[in-house]
């Protein structure tokens, strides 16, 4: 069927060690090669997946993951259920790490800048010799810049740098330094607190995007969903978001306090003040708190004073309140102070020790903030840095140009970049060493004191690229520098460190080899958690100003926030992430500036108009996205896009907001202040064709994503509260009578259809799904998970702008209540829309060739190879979940195609496709069950979306079995089926209504 990548091409690569690699993608007319192993790796069976546990390297949260490999190739990344951070879930960026591994823009080998200024290939040994030579010569002036790495690699770097007496700078564009500094000041601990969202019953977020980028999103999302999701006892935590802009996290809030940018600190203190007035203990900060009364804070924040009082009442009333923030976007010149203020609020409310824990931190040395890099830059500029290594960092992109990094790098005698692929920084270096991808290299992580995890290579290095892991390079470098590490490879070095750790931990699990193997198998080692310490606050060791910072320039405050898809921009060259519609704006492949509709009106611009955004430090042109979730006096731009030299999928997409920012150092934490300028917008008169999947953000009273107020739910009258009256029709005799529908999703097929294969289909499973909209956070991880599992192609900006996105899951987002003018309830409904596998599927009878039909086990099947492409089914699908292959989107450059899942057909042009309920997983489980001589279990099959969902909102199984989880979850007052009351499609997907605290105006359809 597919002329492009054939599933069985994977067999060809069986012996990657051997000749196989070159043969991938050879076209079908040739006789296909079968490449067996020379010696078989015992754990690999062709056609059967092998799983390896490792650590995700996409962000510092370091989730534990399992990687599924087939015939020696990684094809899917999934959360490691044993790992407390990921808890079995994974975010979109984690899934997309595969496209980093197989990225066609990875360096094919080490390159050195020649006389002509162009990069020339160079042999590895030569390159390493060159490196050690320069490091040697540089001696104490040698600088090693790295990002936050695992303990082992960090330690190795440390010792290498020390061996020549040089200096090491650890740089993270998204720095939690202010939080860390505030914690140090408040509790005398150089640590990042852990936040237990799961245990909170009231959550205040002062702009912390803890569901997207802040610290450990997946872990937070799980806890958040568990606490704010309604439970059997009809209890749910409440979430208030205090920030000038609603991030995705904010969109999940029950209430929004749209305060002015930077005023989070004073508001937090004012709430604390109000609490103290209500009898709480201000502790050492009592005097400080005294200074901040509600009215003053309210004035500064541009909100009514009552709001602060109400918030204080709520916070006091709550049994386990929790306040977090601010996020990176809120890091102004007073970032540390604001963090401190929020910690004070927690302390005053007594949350410390319950929902917020400050523990002794064994983390590798903290990411030193921008200040130290700034010093290095000045030294570089003065030519005092003869040699430096930049490992997996991209300051040339992620720092404001004003920092002068680019120019300074030019003054460095010999600059070396160790990175898997060329980026803006590497492009300026003299020598570039291709680093192995994290999925190809060894390493470890220690995200929490009590948590250790190993990173192991899940496959042979991708043969297209002659890469070496930084660890190995550094071990050899140390050797050349005369440092004796007692290790030939980084693997040995890691083992040594871990054997020390093993001894340190008192030799758990007997011999070290056993311990090591177990660590590799399970993927995580949990040691006795260090007791939570220092819940008592100390007096601050220095004075701080909590007031909102004075923003430079005039016009509207500019919020620069980390993208939930690209973080600081390192994910930008992964098509899946580019193609993933931003959870908030539903735009893909480009940048935008978010401005309030009223502001847009004043400016005389519409959504999609190009505007020139000018700050005192720079300007850029970007299309307007009118967003009701942002204050009228604020605009926001996401980081991550606007790359110039980062690969074919990133270059030229959108803009990099850093050009608008000054290189201001925040004191005392020394991080880069993101919130520091005001900007002016000026229409250019040009239009921009935005790549959006959003048709309308309104439900028009249709039975799509209803909600119910908590009180109503408790009283059990769900129909009145946003429910739908039973449909009635007028009949000749008897007047209005209810329309009869088969009520239960397990009723399939109709009696009349029980023939042939369908005779006993009353007893076969009917696969069904339940999605709890009260849990779904709209994070869109399921979208990418599905894309990765089901070989869903990406289409690119132009095609997506035409409305040809191929993703099988569309995360719909509807606005019910959203008002940026004053504090109040916010109600935004998320609806993961995928094929509903209707019992009465409108798409099936219209297909002329039976390409769409219903299987006896209740799947709405799409037979790709039978499809002729009339698109009638898509027209007739009321949910619009069928997508069409307009071109041969599946033909992607080598080796991206190595990621394709061998269990799923790769679709070629002219074919309709859609969610299959991961039928390949169902069949696999059936085959397994048959081999074991049993029937398939009701909860046995876990589709990719459910597996990935950090909020645990999705449940899949056989709904005919009353014991199945899907049946039990669906058996709920809140259960409804989208559009069912309107068109009686009898979907197999049961949604559970969102629950709100405020009244929901009834929807009558």
């Amino acid at each position: 069927m597919s002329e492009g990548i054939k599933r069985r091409d994977f067999l060809k690569v069986l012996g990657v060690s051997g000749a196989g690699a070159g043969l991938v993608g050879c076209s079908t007319d040739q006789v296909e090669k079968l490449i067996p192993y020379v010696t078989p790796p015992e754990e690999i069976t062709p056609g059967v997946a092998t799983w390896y546990s490792t650590v995700c390297g996409e962000c510092p949260a370091a989730c534990g993951v399992w990687v599924r490999t087939r015939e020696g190739r990684a094809v899917k990344v999934e959360g490691n259920p044993h790992h407390p951070v990921s808890g079995g879930a994974l975010c979109a960026r984690g899934h997309a790490s595969l496209q980093g591994l197989y990225n066609p823009d990875r360096l094919e080998g080490p390159v050195r800048r020649g006389e002509d200024g162009e990069f020339q290939p160079i042999a590895w040994d030569e390159a390493e010799a060159l490196l050690s030579q320069h490091v040697q010569d540089a001696g104490s002036d040698f600088v090693f810049v790295t990002r936050k790495e695992g303990p082992a690699l960090a330690g190795l770097i440390e010792s290498v740098v020390e061996s020549v007496g040089g200096s090491r700078v650890e740089y993270e564009a998204l720095s939690e330094a202010p939080l860390r500094e505030a914690t140090r000041m408040a509790f005398g601990q150089d640590a990042v607190p852990t936040f237990r969202f799961e245990e909170a019953d009231l959550i205040f977020s002062f702009g912390a995007d803890f569901l997207e980028t802040w610290l450990s999103p997946v872990e937070h999302a799980r806890g958040f969903a568990r606490s704010t999701g309604i439970d059997e006892a009809h209890e749910k935590a409440r979430f208030v978001f205090l920030s000038p802009r609603l991030s995705l996290t904010g969109q999940n809030a029950d209430e929004w306090v749209p305060l002015t940018a930077g005023s989070e600190g004073v508001v937090a203190l004012a709430i604390a003040h109000a609490l103290v007035q209500r009898g709480a203990d201000g502790g050492p900060y009592s005097d400080l708190i005294e200074a901040y009364d509600a009215q003053a804070a309210a004035n500064e924040a541009g909100i009514p004073a009552e709001t602060i009082e109400e918030l204080a009442d709520a916070f006091q009333a709550a049994s386990a309140p929790l306040a977090v923030g601010p996020g990176v976007a809120g890091q102004g010149a007073n970032a540390t102070a604001t963090n401190l203020a929020v910690l004070i609020l927690n302390a005053v409310a007594g949350s410390v020790g319950s929902t917020l824990h400050v523990t002794r931190s064994d983390l590798a040395a903290p990411a030193t903030p921008y200040r130290e890099l700034a010093d290095v830059i000045s030294r570089m500029a003065e030519g005092q840095v003869p040699a430096m290594v930049l490992h997996n960092v991209n300051p040339a992109y992620s720092l404001p140009p004003e920092s002068g990094f680019r120019q300074a790098l030019g003054q460095v005698g010999f600059s070396v970049a160790i990175t898997p692929h060329l980026d803006e920084t590497a492009a300026l270096c003299d020598l570039v060493l291709p680093d192995a991808h994290t999925l190809e290299s060894w390493g470890d992580s220690n995200p929490r004191p009590e948590l250790w995890a190993l990173r192991q290579p899940v496959m042979q290095p991708v043969p297209h690229f002659d890469s070496r892991s930084a660890g190995d390079v550094l071990v050899r470098l140390a050797g050349r520098l005369g440092e004796d590490l007692g290790a030939e490879t980084f693997h040995d070095y890691l083992r040594n460190r871990w054997s020390d750790l093993h001894a340190e931990l008192g030799s758990p699990g007997g011999s070290f080899d056993a311990f090591w193997r177990e660590a590799l198998r399970v993927g995580v080692v949990e040691v006795d958690a260090a007791p939570a310490q220092a819940t008592a606050m100390q007096t601050p060791d220095r004075a701080l100003t909590f007031d909102a910072p004075e923003l430079e320039g005039d016009g509207m405050a500019l919020v620069v926030y980390p993208s939930s898809r690209f973080g600081d921009g390192r994910g930008a060259n992964k098509p899946w992430l580019q193609e993933l519609p931003d959870p908030v704006t539903k735009l893909a492949w480009h940048s935008w500036v978010e401005i309030h509709p009223e502001t847009a009106e004043e400016l005389g611009v519409r959504r999609g108009d190009m505007v020139r955004v000018a700050s005192p430090h720079g300007e850029l042109e970007v299309p307007v996205y009118t967003y009701p979730g942002i204050r009228a006096d604020t605009v926001a731009i996401a980081m991550g896009e606007g790359h110039e030299n980062y690969g074919r999928y990133a270059n030229g997409n959108g803009v990099n907001p850093m050009v608008l920012l000054p290189a201001t150092v925040e004191e005392p934490s020394g991080t880069l202040a993101h919130l520091s300028v005001r900007v002016n917008l000026e229409p250019t008169g040009r239009r921009y064709s935005m790549a959006s999947i959003e048709g309308s953000d309104q439900q028009y009273d249709r039975p799509i994503a209803p909600a119910v107020q908590l009180e109503e739910l408790r009283e059990g009258n769900i129909e009145e509260a946003g429910g739908y009256p039973t449909r009635q029709e007028l009949q000749a005799i008897g007047g209005f009578v209810p329309i009869t529908t088969e009520a239960e999703p397990q009723d399939f097929p109709l009696e009349g259809a029980r023939y042939g294969d369908y005779e006993d289909s009353g007893s076969t499973p009917r696969w069904a799904m339940a999605i709890d909209l009260d849990k779904c956070t709209g994070c869109s991880a399921c979208v990418t998970a599905c894309q990765s599992e089901n070989n869903v192609a990406f289409v690119g900006k132009d095609q997506l702008a035409m409305g040809r996105a191929l993703q099988w899951i569309r995360l719909e987002r509807y606005y019910e209540q959203i008002d940026s003018s004053q504090p109040g309830p916010v109600d935004i409904r998320f609806l993961p829309m995928l094929c509903q596998h209707c019992g009465n599927a409108p798409c099936e009878p219209v297909c002329p060739v039976y390409a769409a039909y219903h299987t006896p086990d209740g799947l709405n099947a799409q037979v790709y190879n039978r499809c002729v492409g009339t698109r009638y089914c898509a027209n007739n699908c009321p949910y619009k979940v069928r997508v069409f292959n307009w071109y041969r989107f599946s033909e992607v450059p080598e080796p991206l195609n190595w990621q394709y899942n061998p269990d799923v057909t790769v679709r070629t042009e002219g074919i309709m496709e859609k969610c299959s309920f991961c039928v390949q997983r169902i069949r696999k489980s059936e085959n397994q069950a048959t081999l074991e001589g049993r029937t398939i279990g009701s909860n046995e099959v876990v589709p990719a979306c459910q597996q990935s969902c950090p909020a645990e909102a999705i449940v899949f199984g056989n709904i005919r079995d009353p014991e199945s989880r899907v049946y039990q979850v669906s058996n709920n007052d809140r259960t409804y089926r989208v559009l069912d009351v309107l068109i009686n499609t009898q979907p197999a997907i049961n949604y559970l209504r969102k629950v709100t605290f405020h009244p929901v105006e009834s929807i009558h359809v």
Partner: protein
């Protein structure tokens, strides 16, 4: 009067009908036969002239001795060179020892043997070997009398959908499309 012309007319119609039917009986071009029946490599096609009749026939080796994963995986598995060397380290072969020499060459060079694939269904078909093995199907049902053939160079069966279906219907196995197509 002049009857022949309309007799001819009827005959022509009949001819057309039967033509359509015969066309139906033959394999359609959309069944990706380029991967299936049509594969026919030359006499020197396989890198090593491996005599199935010698191993599976004379020596009575069990198919799954070499195709090790047939009973537990959807793919039957191609024996690693090590498996061959298990015997051929000692057995130099009776006739055509040069072929065994080739094998040893591969082994010494640590190279994989680039066998040419003969049996292959289209890419939109998933064929779980284990289901068929566990159902007690003989390998020969699909692969023909391998134990009598020397160097396998062409498939013995059409490997087309109709051919699969006939067996599925006879055996009372499922006819559901998504059993094979997904």
């Amino acid at each position: 009067m002049k009857k022949p012309w309309y007799i001819a007319m009827v005959a022509a119609l009949a001819a057309l009908g039967s033509l359509a039917f015969l066309q139906g009986q033959t394999v359609d071009e959309d069944v990706d036969t380029s991967d299936a029946a049509q594969v026919n490599i030359g006499p020197e096609g396989q890198p090593i002239a491996f005599p199935h009749n010698r191993h599976a026939g004379d020596l009575q080796l069990d198919c799954q001795f070499c195709h090790f994963s047939a009973e537990r995986s959807s793919s039957a598995g191609i024996p690693p060179v090590a498996t061959c060397m298990g015997c051929h380290t000692f057995v130099a072969g009776t006739e055509r020892q040069e072929e065994v020499a080739k094998l040893r060459g591969f082994w010494e060079r640590g190279e994989a043997i680039p066998w040419n694939r003969i049996y292959k269904v289209s890419d939109h078909v998933s064929f779980p070997h284990m289901r068929h093995v566990s159902a007690g199907l003989e390998c020969q049902e699909c692969h023909g009398p391998v134990e009598e053939i020397g160097v396998i160079q062409e498939v013995q069966q059409p490997l087309t959908m109709g051919w699969c279906l006939n067996c599925h219907i006879e055996q009372g196995a499922t006819r559901d499309c998504t059993a094979c197509h997904y």
